[in-house]
Each structure stands twice: as structure tokens, then as C-alpha cells.
Symmetry: C2
Subunit: 700 residues, 2 copies
């Protein structure tokens, strides 16, 4: 026993329960990890980096992390960035490895990843996307900022009164042809740059989004490099910067606001891959300017991966706890039942486990599609081969569409997952040391930034509808990931009682639902004078359905590869169960639509609940194995409720004792408390000035 | 203009938009407030207390509140408790007024309400509920703890390994008849008292839930007063207490853990209204012991009110922002559109506004029902009139059932409401100064404590099913709030295209759905060998449906009273619209069930979306009036996005400037940053020990 226990009493033993299930796991965890990570190479690479991160003394993240206030978080994040700057020097020129590092460290310290991501992904990403090769080489390599040296950048896009609508930004960059300079100005309070990550303290430079004004003419929003701080890290005059202060989460990032007051920058600081201003003020805009925002898609793609990784972490904690925790006795039983044995608990958590596996499929797929497109773009730019460039532009459109749906759907789902996992751990989920609290608030912003989820979902829904319209009107066949629309069934049951567990038919059911809902939306659109806002709810549903269908379809494809491989290490069985659960729980979520369009027969609908129950029971014995397969060490779990050995109660009490000295049992503010408890009577505090004696004196 | 704006640029003017809508409000805000608060008297009482709270210098709660760390929150909370202790002295003996005070201050500072609530509601509530009159008089009045004097109590029920299952608690209270004492002991780590609010620093005494052991026999869990700290506020020996540390929210409460090691208390410290131990160890348990937990229901009832109040606050912020904020231009428009004009934004927020009004109905109803029952209990106990007592027990059962459904449904809904309101404010919702962040994490625990929502929902669903079973089997008619089951339709459409906007028919539709789902569940139950866990999903739905039906029905009743009053001040029109929206959006939520059972015709289902859209458009012009009617002053709103005058951008920037000195633009940790940016090359940091020259030396 870990602490003294009196006879007649049995101390709880969650480790034993977790281990007994672990020892029965009958599939190959390495093969499962390979499935999750996409390839054997990637599986090994992930573990290699994880081991390096968890052993680094400065990157250490423990329960103390949950105690930090804003300042401490920012300070620790700065120290960690300094450490990671050393890694990037040795990783170079392989920046992909560094990106993997950031994605993985984000599992336990998302703010750290972001604070670097703003510099590398947004600041340098914007320079790469919008600047000439020479401009990128100067700012990134000659100055050293790609190694986090000399320059630290931020990304001044959002304004106080302008978020999602980039075209509506108001900051101006006015060209002065006599002096060959731009003057950057914030014309009113609404144009104050807002939420600028790194602006408050870290950044020396920014990429500023501002309206290009030449000879009084407004050429729309372009990008400019603007120095903010001098060699002494002091603000240049004309630059007003303040701290945005306390946020819901991610307080390790020093977000700031910026006002520019007649800040002059050389003409050459305008990023001019696409738009150029000649000395005399002539503005030249080539047709490929649409590529300017391409680099920004990287953030959305990464958020699919973030959602997957974050979900891995929190579903592991909740499921380990659900196996180790007992609550209420069943009739005739001597010990209380494990939480996970309750059908309701399975219904609450296992669909999220299935979603986590689905997100792994999405994450790997969209990451590799995006890499392909970026390579095509680079190649096209180098060779100036129109065919390659044109394919790259098509690919970019595909990533735009897929990421709009997947980013919004996965970040929302991950948010719900964290909160449901927290609630499933009862009161203990409310302890900061469970990890859920900071996990939730840190993740929450993913639903908002780099494309608000509702705005993105509207885009995605619209794209699906437009694909159908174009095919109906002009016979233009949907391409790429939308080609399923061609084969989708337009009428009749796709799902009946007989095929509720058939994955191919489940995919077809979603194909059909998407087509039917799109057709319905087109009808409604025509009735409403083509007001796309009037079908907002339909677009939202279509976006979510597109993501579900995407993940389910790619999952099935991947499963076939596993089966073809000959030696599956036993992973096919649990993967099929999870895929069926993923599909069926989503059929339940859209049950009314499936019924409305007659894609699901009423008898199949009646059996849906039991079909879900059946597959839950099949998955139940695998929950420890299916979460162990994520291979997240205790460093990445960082939760008193979810460590590998499952010694929940000792971990929990031990951590709390180590963080709070039990010899100190009085608060620093104890005087306030004791003063209240030992205060005198009302009469004495009023110096008896309302006593009968006094009142008598006063009245006589 | 509030700050200098250059010509040609237009500063945003949210106040103007909000005021222009405010001035058009055509219903009587006072009458609406009366509707919300239940009566003219209660409306006035609420405002009177609010004014007093917001003017008190110590109870002041401003944007600074969002900057506090755990220690500062606890210290501030202790100071505020000291202040409120003075109010309770003057409120006495009218403790209802003090309870109203706590409910209202909880809008802006929920942790304050809780930290006092643990002492007054749980500690003293348990003594009142379980102790004799003499015991209560001694601990409450003679010692002065009812005025927060001399004694501060906590409530030691939950244990580390035992949450919802009170019967499974392991702490022991062993009677020693020779010495006439009880020995309290924590037998193992799992029995450590956990989450005990106020234990870490505040409490001097606790009510401890422990198994009564007499002569080796276990009589189950009873309650005992145990002193924790002496006159010097130091811990008695045998008492081990530690700080539970950081929590998701409510860090102003000093939750602690307690281990008892052979702590001896006099026999007289056992609370013995129901169970008594005679000197010789004979245990006497009267039949009315079921009343022991009655006092605990107060917490659940209060949480319905909390959910209502919290929802009032956050829906007001989100709707004011949605009117003042512009985003994206519509075709041909000069200025961007207000957020609230987007149909999707209306769909996201207005159903929550309707829920808030629904919760006001539920809050008032269950509060007054609960008061009635408590009076009956008191009267019954005094007069020993069996009829009165029996009615009180029936009433208590009713409150148990209603509060199980309403507490779980309303706290969940409020949680979703806060998060959706936050997301609807885009990035600015993520700023702590918007209020959403702390609001969300503070509220989150309401879904877990004093009856985990899932456990409560299972209870509620089971009660509905049992009502139907008893009627079917024994012909026992459902009583009270369940009597609607008698008249509920068993087959055929209740809703068709013609009556989708008819409130009476909408109520009938929910009546019918509840009955049909209960009958279905009974069938499933019989198939599954009466395993109630197998119908967990159905019970969950039934609990939510019961709450929706309860609120809708009582709302319609209340509306009829308003209409009968003759002069409704114009509030009937908006109230009817809101009630229809509340009903229809819930029909949508349970759309698949309505379709499955044929309560909603397929054609009506097809028209549902448009029916919702229609009522949204009707409510749109009233959103400022409908939130102004809550009469929450800026003190209670405490959000830079939602103040009454709607000067969002100036409020926001002004607050952030006042909290963060803009003259300080370097971080205290700037050395870490600057050190990184200005660091030497890898080679120099390695003292050139990998240079070709060195390597040559080493190889030669």
C-alpha cells in the first residue's frame, strides 16, 4: 500500500484495473500507431521527437504549469522559445522537422507553439507568400529571423473593428513618390491593430496589412514590413503599442494592440511578389494575386492536426479514469462498478474516441495534400510552367475547401470533446491538475481565429452547393474530393435494417444526404431570390457533413490498405468497430435529415440505437489499448487523472501536496477571516449609539 | 469623437446603433421585468438589492477582477464575506433577503456566493436538516454562526474516491460507550474528504458525513459536527488539511482535503433529529429519515435561478455586441452589416434568448414551490399533523423530480449559452474583459456538483417512466406536474403545417412525445430484463424533454395571466414570439423523435426551418428591449463588450489601457527575449570546437 490503510478497509486500486485491461490487449500497438501517424517512418519520427522534447530540461512542463499566472506563462514561454531557437539551428534546412516539433509540443503547451508560429508561420509566411525571393532572403536568412535571431515578427492583420473581413481593413499605407516612402497610419480607433500576437513585448518587426493609397486612389489591402522596435528593443516613435492583457487562455502569448501614427517606411518594405508600386506611383497588379493568401492556409491545416492531437490527449485521460474509477454498486455486486461499464458512459465517450481516430485520418490526409500543393507552387514558380501552376491553383482551391470544412468541424468537435471528457471525470475534472481546464480554454480560440468557424463553414457549404449547381446547369462535373457527388443516390433508402453495419453503405448514405441537402438548398435559394444568407443553416450542416463524409471515406480507404498488407497485427477489428461507431453516431446526429429524405428507412431508424449499443459493447474491452496506441507519455498527458500507470489517487493527492505546503494551514489573508469571525457585536461596533439609553437622551 | 479621427475615415459608432434600436422599443420594460421576476414586489426587491450591492465600496467588482490570481481572488472573497456578514446582521431575521442578495451578487461574483453558501446553506443547512432544534440553536444562534460569526463551517461529504454515491462513503465514526465519544477516522486514501469548500483556510468546524459504527455494526452514513481549528485558528491535532489548489474556475473558494486520524468528538456532536445513539449504544432510527436530505435540495433549486441569472447576463452582452458590431458588406451597401442582421447569427443567439426567458419561468416556479414545501415541513414538524407532513413529503418528492430535470437541463443549457455567446463575439469574446471566460469556467462546475447532471437526468427520466408504468400497471394516476401524461396523445399527428405557431398545440406535442418515448422505453426495458442502464439514452432525453415541457407549459400559463390583466404594456407580443421560438427550436432539436413517432407530420417538418426563420425575424427588432428588460446595470454586466451605452470600442481600449501601462513596453523578462534575438552564432557558442581547423587537429 502507498499509504497506511487500516484493516477492514480496502484502498482503491485503479492501477490494477487499468493494467488488467492493458494486459489483455490483443492487437499490435506499433501497427496501430503507424495507422494513426500515417506511415512507419512518421510513427518513428513522432516518437523520436517526443523523446527529445520530454527530456529537455527547459521544455519541462509539469503540474506547476497549471499554477502559473499570465506573467509567469509569458516568461516561461520566452525561455522555451529561446531553447527551441537552438533546435531550429540544427534542424535547418529541414524545417519540416521543426514544424513537427511545434505540433507535438503544442499537445502540452499550445501557447508555445503559437507564439513561435506567429513569427515563423504568419510573419515569415506572409513575407514568403507576398514578398519577392530577394525580400524573403533578406528578412529571413540575411537577418537570421528564420532561426529566431535578430528579428522577431508579428502579423498585423486584424483590427479592433474588423476581424474576418480583411477587405474592410482601414489602416492606410500612402505612397509619397517624391520621397519614395510609404506612410503607415491608423485613421481611427476602429483601425487599431488588435490581438497581434507577440506585439506587446516580443516583436521587433511586423507585417502590416494596410490599404495601398497612391495619388488618392485606394488599391485595396496590401502587405508591408514595418519595424516596431529599435536595436535597444525600444519602440520607434509613431508606434503606439499596448498589452491586450488577460485572455481566456494562451496567456503565454503577449498579444498587443498597435496604432501607427505617420510611420514612414522605405518603398522597398512593401512586399511585392504580386503587387508592385513603381517609383512614379504606377501600381502593377499581376493576375495571380489570388495566390497571395495561399500561405495562410497552413494555419488551418495545422489546426486539423492540433484537434487530433488534443483529442488524443483528453480522450486518453477520460478513458483511463473511466476504467480506474468506480461508482455505485450494481445489485448483488460487492464492489462498485467501473464508470466505463455504464452504457451511458460508453455513449458519452466512445464516439469521441472514434472521432479522434477519424481526425487522425483527416490530419494526415490534408497535411500531405497541402505539402504536395506547396511543392507544385514552388516548382511552378521556378519553372514558370503554366500547367504545373494551374494544377497548383486547383490544388490550393481544394485545400481551401477541405480545410474550411475540416478546420471548423474538427476544432468544434475537439472543444466539445474536452468539455465532455472533463464532465465525465466528475468533480475531479474541475481540478486544474486534471489538465482539462487549461486544455479547454487554450483550445477554445481555435474555433475563432484564422477563419471563424461559422464563416468557414458557410464557405464550405457554399462550395458544395456550387459544385451541384455547376453540374446541373453547365454539366461541369465535380472534381477531386467532390467527385462523390456524381455517384450519390438521389432517392430511395440507402440504409435499411440489413446494412446498418456496412461501412461502404454508410459512406453512400452520407454521399446521398449531402447531395439531397444540396439540392434542397438550391430549391430554397431559388425561392429566396438567391439570398445565400437565407440558407445559412443548410450550409452549416453541409460543411459538417462534408467533413464527416471525408473522414469516413478516407478511413475506409486506409482500412483497405491495412487489410491488403497481409499482416494487420489485429488492428482491423477495432478499427472497423470504431469506423462503424463514427458513422452511426453521426447518422444519429443527423437523424432527422436522414429520415426526411428517406435515406434511412424508419425501421432502420428504430434499430439505430441498438446498433450503436452493439458496437459500443464491442469497443469496450479495447479502450485501454486504443488509447495506449496514441503513445503519449506522461509528459504529454500531464494530468493527475490520466497517467500511464493509472495510480490516480496517489498521483492526485501527491501532486497537490507537493504544490501546497500542508504545514501552512493559515491563509496569508487570515486576518480578514479571523477579524470577521471574532468581531464584536453590532452595538459595540456602533459604539452603542443606538442604545435605548442614548435614544432616551436624544429624545428628552 | 472620443479620440482624434482623420477626415475621410469614419470611426465606428456602436452606441448610435444600440440607442436607435432602444428608442424604438415599444413595450413596457417595467412590466417585462415584473414578468421575469414573477411579481411587482419581487421586481422592486431585486432592483433595491442590486442598487445596494453595486454601490458598496467593498463589493465592487470591475475589470480588475479578471486579472486576479488565485490568492487575490481568495483574499478579495474573504473581504467581501466580511462585508456581507454586516448585511446579514441587519437583514436578520429575514434570511430570504440575504439569500436574494447572494443570488444577485453571484451574477458577477459566483465564487463569493458559493463560499458563503457552503457555510450557510450546506453547513448550517445540514445542522438544520439533521440536527435537533436545540443543536441548531446552539451552533447557529448561540455561537452566532448564522451571522457569520465565531464559527465558519464547511461540509465534508464528498471523498476522493466517492462522489455521487453518498452511501459508499468510507469515513468512520465509531462509538465508544465507555467514554461517550465518537472517534472519526479516515481509513484509507480513497476516503480522504475532497473538494471541501472553505476547508483550506476559512473553516473552524465541519459537518462530517461518516459511517456510524456501534459495537462493530455499520449503521450507514450519518452526520457529525467536528471542530477543525482552535480559537487561534490553528488546526487541532488529528486533523490533516491541505489546499486543493488551482481549479478551472471559482478560485476564490479555498477548497481543501481533510483526513481525520482518530479525532474524538463528544457524543452530543452527532446530529440527531432522525437517528440517535443512546448512551448504551442503542441506535434508534425513526421512519422519517428520508427527510434528512431535504435541505440539500435547496442547492439544486438555486442553480436553476443561477442559470437564469447567468444567462441573462451573457445573452445581453452577446446581443448588444451583435447590434453594435458590423461585419461584411451586403451587395450595394455602403456600410457593413450588423451581425444580428445575419439569419445565422439570429439562429445562433435568439433561441438562447428564448431559453433565458424560459428559465425565468422555471426559476420563479420552482423557488416558490420549494418555499411552500419548506413551510409545510416546518408546520408539520411543529404541529406533528400527519396530513401536513404527508403533503410536505409529496411536495419534497415533486421538488426532487422537478429539480433533477431542471437543474441538469438549465445548467447545461447555460453552459452552452455562454460558450456560444462568446463565439458569437468572435475574437473579442476571448478577451477576459468580455467576461465570458471567467463566466464559463465559473459556471462549468454547476453541471457537476450537488448532483452530477447525468446522474440527475437519469433520475428524472426514470421518474417519468415509473409514472407511466404505475398508471399502466396499477391504474395509479400521475399527480402534480406529471398529470399531463394522462391527457397526452398516444398516436397521430399533433403538429401539422397548420398549427406550428400554436402554443397550446406545441405544448401538446411535447406531452405526446414524452408519453410516446416513455412507452417505447418501457418496451425496451422489458426486452432487456429490466436493466435500467440499457435505456440510459432514453432517460436522458426524457429528462431534457420534461424540463422543456415544464417551462413551456408554465410560460403559457403565465402568459394567460398577463393577457387577463387587461393592460399588458405591450409585452404579450414579444413574449408569445419568444415562447414560439423556444418551442420550435426544441422541436428541431428533437426532430428525429417527433418524426419517428409521427407527432410531427413530414410536411410540417419540411416547413419547420421556415417557421423558425419567420419568428426570428419578428424577434429581431426587439433584441435591445428584451435584454434591457433584464435591468442589469453595468456593474452586473462587467464586460467591455456589453455595457448599457454600447460604446464598445472606447470601453474596450480604455479598460485595457487603464489596466496595462502603455509607457512600459518591455516585459520584465525582456532579457530572455533580447538574449535570444542577439545571441551569437552556433559556432561561437560552441567555442568553434567543431570548426574545420579543430577537426583537422583532432584527426591528425
Amino acid at each position: 500500500m502507498s499509504s497506511t490503510t487500516l484493516p477492514g478497509s480496502q484502498e482503491p486500486n485503479p492501477s490494477q484495473m487499468i493494467w488488467s485491461e492493458r494486459l489483455k490487449t490483443d492487437f499490435d500497438l506499433n501497427k496501430m500507431h503507424t495507422f494513426l501517424e500515417g506511415s512507419e517512418h512518421d510513427s518513428l519520427e513522432t516518437l523520436r521527437i517526443m523523446q527529445q522534447l520530454e527530456r529537455d530540461p527547459i521544455l519541462r512542463t509539469t503540474a506547476h504549469y497549471y499554477e502559473y499566472d499570465k506573467l509567469k506563462h509569458r516568461e516561461q514561454t520566452a525561455l522555451k522559445i529561446g531553447r527551441l531557437a537552438q533546435y531550429i539551428e540544427t534542424d535547418a534546412p529541414d524545417f519540416q522537422t521543426f514544424q513537427n516539433r511545434l505540433n507535438l509540443i503544442a499537445i502540452v503547451d499550445p501557447q508555445l507553439g503559437t507564439r513561435i508560429g506567429v513569427h515563423l508561420g504568419l510573419f515569415l509566411g506572409a513575407i514568403k507568400g507576398n514578398g519577392t525571393e530577394e525580400q524573403f532572403n533578406y528578412w529571413a536568412y540575411e537577418r537570421g529571423s528564420i532561426y529566431l535571431r535578430d528579428i522577431y515578427g508579428c502579423f498585423s492583420m486584424t483590427e479592433l473593428a474588423h476581424g474576418s473581413n480583411v477587405a474592410g481593413l482601414e489602416t492606410t499605407a500612402t505612397y509619397n513618390k517624391e520621397r519614395r516612402i510609404f506612410t503607415i497610419n491608423t485613421p481611427n480607433i476602429g483601425a487599431t491593430k488588435w490581438w497581434i500576437g507577440g506585439a506587446a513585448h516580443s516583436s521587433t518587426h511586423t507585417v502590416c496589412f494596410a490599404r495601398l493609397i497612391v495619388d488618392g486612389k485606394d488599391y485595396g489591402v496590401k502587405t508591408f514590413v514595418v519595424p516596431l522596435r529599435d536595436a535597444n528593443h525600444d519602440l520607434h516613435h509613431g508606434i503606439t503599442i499596448g498589452d491586450i492583457g488577460q485572455k481566456m487562455g494562451r496567456n503565454g502569448i503577449d498579444n498587443g494592440w498597435i496604432q501607427f501614427t505617420n510611420v514612414e517606411i522605405p518603398k522597398e518594405y512593401m512586399l511585392s511578389k504580386f503587387t508592385t508600386v513603381e517609383e512614379d506611383g504606377t501600381v502593377v497588379e499581376p493576375p495571380l494575386a489570388q495566390l497571395a493568401y495561399g500561405a495562410l492556409l497552413g494555419g488551418r491545416v495545422t489546426m486539423v492536426t492540433d484537434s487530433f492531437r488534443t483529442s488524443e490527449r483528453f480522450i486518453t485521460i477520460a478513458l483511463r479514469y473511466s476504467v480506474g474509477r468506480r461508482q455505485f454498486k450494481s445489485k448483488g455486486k460487492k464492489v462498485e462498478n467501473q464508470l466505463i461499464n455504464y452504457p451511458l458512459h460508453q455513449r458519452r465517450l466512445l464516439p469521441f474516441l472514434a472521432w479522434t481516430y477519424a481526425m487522425s485520418v483527416a490530419s494526415y490526409q490534408i497535411q500531405s495534400d497541402y505539402k504536395t500543393v506547396l511543392q507544385q507552387l514552388d516548382e511552378g514558380a521556378k519553372t514558370e510552367d503554366f500547367k504545373v501552376l494551374s494544377a497548383a491553383i486547383d490544388g490550393l482551391k481544394g485545400i481551401f475547401a477541405d480545410s474550411a470544412s475540416l478546420k471548423s468541424t474538427c476544432t468544434w468537435k475537439c472543444s466539445t470533446l474536452i468539455d465532455e471528457c472533463r464532465q465525465s471525470c466528475g468533480g475531479h475534472g474541475y481540478s486544474s491538475y486534471s489538465g482539462f481546464a487549461k486544455g479547454f480554454v487554450d483550445h477554445a480560440v481555435q474555433c475563432t481565429w484564422e477563419g471563424d468557424n461559422n464563416v468557414l463553414a458557410q464557405n464550405s457549404g457554399r462550395i458544395t452547393i456550387q459544385n451541384v449547381i455547376k453540374y446541373k446547369k453547365d454539366g461541369k462535373k465535380p472534381k477531386g474530393n467532390y467527385s462523390f457527388l456524381l455517384g450519390a443516390s438521389k432517392d430511395g433508402y440507402v440504409l435499411d435494417s440489413s446494412n446498418l453495419h456496412n461501412l461502404d453503405d454508410l459512406v453512400k448514405a452520407f454521399d446521398s444526404l449531402i447531395l439531397r441537402l444540396a439540392l434542397d438548398s438550391i430549391e430554397k435559394l431559388q425561392k429566396n431570390g438567391h439570398d445565400w444568407d437565407a440558407i445559412a443553416a443548410e450550409k452549416l450542416s453541409l460543411s459538417k457533413l462534408y467533413a464527416v463524409r471525408y473522414m469516413l471515406y478516407k478511413w475506409c480507404q486506409k482500412l483497405k490498405l491495412v487489410q491488403q498488407s497481409g499482416s494487420d497485427g489485429g488492428i482491423t477489428r477495432p478499427l472497423v468497430n470504431l469506423a462503424i461507431l463514427f458513422a452511426l453516431s453521426n447518422v444519429e446526429s443527423f437523424g432527422d435529415r436522414f429520415l426526411e429524405f428517406g435515406i434511412l428507412s424508419p425501421s432502420a431508424y428504430k434499430e439505430l440505437g441498438e446498433a450503436v449499443d452493439k458496437v459500443l459493447v464491442k469497443i469496450r474491452p479495447d479502450v485501454i489499448g486504443l488509447t495506449d496506441a496514441f503513445k503519449l507519455s506522461d509528459f504529454f498527458i500531464n494530468s493527475v487523472l490520466g497517467s500511464y500507470n493509472g495510480d490516480i489517487y496517489n498521483d492526485y493527492l501527491g501532486t497537490i501536496k507537493s504544490l501546497n505546503d500542508t504545514q501552512v494551514t493559515k491563509a496569508p489573508y487570515t486576518k480578514a477571516l479571523e477579524g470577521m469571525l471574532n468581531r464584536g457585536s453590532v452595538a459595540s461596533r456602533e459604539k452603542n449609539e443606538k442604545s435605548p439609553e442614548v435614544l432616551k437622551k436624544l429624545s428628552s
